[in-house]
Amino acid sequence: MTPNSATSAPSRRSFLASTAVAAAAVAGGAPLLSACGGSQSGSKDGTTSGKDAAKILPAYVASTVVAPDIPAKNGSAAGFSKAIPTADLKTSVTKKLGSGGRLRIMSPFWGTPPKGDNPYYKAMNEAIGVDVTWQNQDGVTYDEKLGAVLASSEIPDVVVVPGWNLNGKIPGAINAKFADLGPYLSGDKVRDYPNLAAVPTEAWQRGIFGGQLRAIPFPAPYVTDIAPLYRKDLFDKKGYSVPTSPDDFLSWAKEATDARSKVWACDDMKWTAFNVFGVLSGSDKALWWNMDGGKLVNRIETEEYLEALEWTRKLYAAKVVHPDAVSGKAGGNAGNRLTSGQVLVYSQNISDWWGKTAEQRTQNPDFEIAAFDFFGPDGGDPKLWAVQPANIFTFITKTASEQQIKDFLAVCNFCAAPYGTKEFMLTAYGVEGTHYETEKGLPVKTTQGVNEVNGAFDYTGNPAPYIAYPDFPDVTRGMVEWQQRMGAFTTKSSFFGLTVTEPNRWANLADSFEQLEDDVVRGRKKISDMQQAVSDWKSKGGDELRDWYKKLLDDTGSAN
């Protein structure tokens, strides 16, 4: 449910929830109630929190190798902007945990995957002691393959699933097909994997699917991951100031659009609009719901939702959106339109701040992007909703042998190494001399490094959310500080932190809304069509689903 143009992976480098935040969540977290819809009943729908969750969650053992020079605050990542000399790197995995066995991993990949036997994969496999074969699939259309792959009897050993792909019956499929990691990780057992033991508990909580700890989570800041990124270099050149309200944005956009010279103000801004107008988060189905005045309300029922769509529609109608963005997926890559200067602003995962900068600086030293702060509907402070503290998951199939599961955990433990360790450098930067060179004390990726050290091992295990680009200290600082400023306006909704499996009969109820949104903003459907769809949704089961969620909340309590 991130923008379908999500072209750049939420890179492992981009997120963080400091250990401090995690500790606070555990210690000061709301007293969770017991009972759960799922774990006891055969259907496995519902969620797990409180005492039931406590029984299976891994213990938390903090490990701080290097203190972040920009500490985490307001749910932001922690920032590391200083390079560590190779000689000072610590070792977090003292002995090879892998048995030398083989693992096939299917993972989404944003961009062009490297060859399967490249030096980076080889070096990682060698260091971990597991022979991993990657099946990288296009991240933009990953959801289209997942259902079919999981329905087959030949599932890859390990499957990476982004939270925004947990649509329809996928959560049910996960409960049916993937192994319980509890026997290997619950409680103190996680101490065998010290880097995983340092993963924040609220991220592990998200890894509970169908009453069992099935996923290795990818910890993320709870501040929204969608940022309005703009070409700072071009803004400066033209003398534009950053828009500060929706109306301001529209009038700026009209001025900045110069179609004759192939310049449009923005790309699809729908996801920015949702944040500007304070729409409940769309990144995870349970986050669509929030308790408001004693009643559970879904994001699609709110005024804000319609206002956000209406504003986005105005942008399209004013022809300030790039024509190829109108075509959606068929129009090509939104990121390329930004880097080529054909659009000046686009909504994207904040990791693109670094991603595009790193990619472009080699050819264009002046290239500079930044994210502007969300403004409220009237130009004041925005009201933002928290996203889940982990939203990419890695699973291993039920049919895997014990040895394979241990190998899998060895991979995850290695990749979860914190900043300042040798394992981190290998995972994030590759092999020195091949994938990066040390210039003036800073690790700088070579072209080979940019092409090969990207994706794949990024998703299988991660430490607490962090942003660490010592070669781009300004970017690191910019990203963390943006998260901290936005974090101050962020509220957690009722189901924050929980992984909910909806009952099958309602699993497909909201399937058509994303397409309908796209039709409305492009002027092919009217706001009234959306209102009609919402009332159909209610009568077809939306109201029953509301009752179901209400009961879930009453039975298990909120996690925040």
């Binding site: 009897s153 996928i170 179609a259 024509p323 959606g328 068929a330 090509g332 397409q515 459907k525």
Partner: protein, 354 residues
């Protein structure tokens, strides 16, 4: 009958180009040829015992066997899977999606009721038929015209080059075709930008839902019309030059020769392809439409195949999609039977004959 010699040779000529879909009646074809060899007395042939006929056609039957096996495995056995249309099928109930069929509850015609009540389904049906008729009218004649054109080129070199140029787009993927169209006809494409330089705004064929059906047809023509001429060229090459010479001697001009010799030679092939096309009417493109789904919206782009895919695979509502697929199959069967009947009434062979 004057076209007695021509259609037969044309019928044979079309064989090499037949698609696997049609290879299922390979044994029937073989048998017919075999019978024809001794067709002086058709009654006698009919009286041959089954065993004798088997022995006579042994080689042909063996040759057909692999195709029949493939057809069984990939086309007939999967038909059984349609039972999920009458279930609330959840492939994730068991380790194996196949075993899950036996564990899923039966719901009778509930899925069909849901489908008939779904306006999106009827929209998809409507789009499918509109696209089919457009393609029939605009696309179908193009390969025939191109084949006539190519056939009129005498120099082999020019002919080979022209053919190669026309075949080539067939091997492009739809992604590439859509991208090429986008670069030319899109809102930021060559035409739109050129018009902008002259002060004309708003040219964008790629995102206009109203003209989408023509766009899709144009894409199909560009991609596949060249490929479609193969069958017709083969039919044309089997027309004896003597006929043209004789006609020319009798004073027939270009158009008369075209009308009285060339087109009658093509008639059986055209009839056959038309029947096949009608039988396939509900299949009007898949990837192509899916790729452009966001560009024009669901209302303009959803056809039966994309509808089934979206609900079944994308949203994992497998039973619902299976039921929709079943409806498509039944309607398709009715169409092909009707079209074949019409072909018979027109005095053509059609796809099969009792």
């Amino acid at each position: 009958m004057s076209h007695n010699t021509v259609p037969r040779s044309a019928g044979e000529a079309k064989n090499p180009a037949r698609t696997p879909a049609a290879s299922g009646d390979g044994d029937g074809e073989g048998e017919r040829k075999g019978t024809r060899a001794r067709s002086r007395d058709p009654k006698r042939a009919g009286r041959l015992s089954l065993r004798l006929r088997f022995r006579r056609d042994r080689t042909l039957l063996l040759m057909a066997l692999p195709a029949v096996l493939l057809l069984l495995v990939f086309n007939y056995i999967p038909i059984l899977g349609n039972v999920v249309a009458f279930q609330e099928y959840d492939p994730y109930l068991s380790e194996n999606g196949f075993v899950a069929i036996f564990q899923s509850p039966w719901v009778g015609f509930e899925q069909f009721e849901r489908i008939f009540a779904d306006s999106a389904f009827w929209h998809a049906v409507q789009n499918t038929f509109v696209l089919f008729f457009l393609q029939l009218v605009l696309f179908f004649p193009v390969p025939i015209l191109l084949a006539l054109l190519i056939n009129s080129v005498v120099r082999p070199r020019v002919r080979a080059i022209a053919q190669a140029v026309m075949y080539l787009p067939h091997f492009f993927s739809w992604v590439l075709v859509v991208t090429v169209f986008m670069q030319i006809f899109g809102g930021a494409g060559i035409i739109a930008q050129t018009l902008r330089q002259h002060g004309i705004e708003g040219f964008d064929l790629m995102t206009n839902p109203d003209t989408f059906k023509y766009l899709v047809t144009a894409e199909t023509i560009w991609k596949d019309a060249g490929w479609g001429i193969i069958v017709f060229l083969a039919a044309l090459s089997s027309v004896s030059d003597d006929l043209y010479e004789a006609a020319a001697m009798d004073g027939a001009g270009r158009w008369r020769r075209l009308w009285h010799i060339t087109l009658p030679a093509l008639r059986p092939v055209i009839a056959l392809l038309l029947v096949l096309r009608v039988g396939d009417a509900l299949t009007v493109g898949f990837e192509q439409l899916l790729l452009q789904r966001q560009a024009v919206g669901v209302d303009a782009s959803d056809v039966l195949d994309t509808y089934v895919w979206w609900n079944g695979i994308r949203n994992q509502d497998f039973s619902y999609a299976a039921a929709a697929g079943l409806i498509k199959g039944v309607v398709g069967l009715a169409l092909v039977l009707t079209a074949n009947k019409v072909a018979h009434l027109m005095g053509e062979q059609g796809v099969y004959k009792k």
